[in-house]
């Protein structure tokens, strides 16, 4: 899983079978110190509770579909949790 920040929402009027009602969000992938890294991606949201500006963690690959109610659907990234806090004790310096 990686950290990401929700930067937008996406509405699709027609989606593949099984994806009806699944929230789709635009997510900017982040490094562990929460700086942007790479291009934004579109994630399904298994929590149904994430919104813009929120810090989330998402899973990719096969597990992305498994996180949804319908588990055999064409998605490649899914938000599996909303972050309250990231504890990185050594961030300030030292090893």
């Amino acid at each position: 899983m990686l950290l990401g920040k929700v930067i937008g929402t996406l509405v699709a009027c027609e989606v593949y079978e099984g994806l009806q009602g699944v929230p789709l969000l635009v997510v900017q992938p982040l490094t562990k110190s929460q700086t942007s890294k790479g291009e934004p991606i579109i994630c399904a949201d298994s929590t149904s509770m994430a919104g813009p500006e929120e810090l989330v963690y998402y899973e990719g690959g096969r597990e992305a579909a498994m996180a949804l109610r319908e588990t055999f659907v064409p998605v490649d990234h899914t938000i599996v949790g909303i972050v309250d806090q990231v504890h990185l004790p050594d961030q300030a310096g030292g090893q």
């Binding site: 992305a64 996180a67 309250d84």
Partner: protein, 91 residues
């Protein structure tokens, strides 16, 4: 599997139900010499590991689900060991 070092922890209350009561660790990827490669990932802790410790991480779904005893869990990365040492024989 790969070698990593625990950099920290993630606190989360709203999550997928299969992640309930699981510790999430931020893991820096290490090379064989033990220096960070720059990459990281978030993994579920199946063993008790603390910040700074070198750990063994499985990054494969079926093995991860077997370890956690939940065949449906959407979990791929799991910390499965704390590393004491890595010995390399190089000619």
């Amino acid at each position: 599997m790969f070698i990593g070092q625990v950099a920290g922890e993630i606190v989360s209350t709203i999550n997928h139900p299969d992640y309930d009561n699981r510790r999430l660790l931020v893991i820096d990827r290490l090379d064989l010499e033990g220096s960070p490669t720059g990459g990281y990932l978030i993994a579920v802790a199946a063993v008790d590991a603390g910040v700074g410790q070198k750990v063994l991480v499985v990054d494969e779904g079926t093995g991860a689900r077997q370890i956690l005893g939940n065949a449906q869990a959407p979990i791929r990365s799991v910390v499965v060991g704390v590393i004491d040492s890595v010995d390399l024989s190089r000619g």
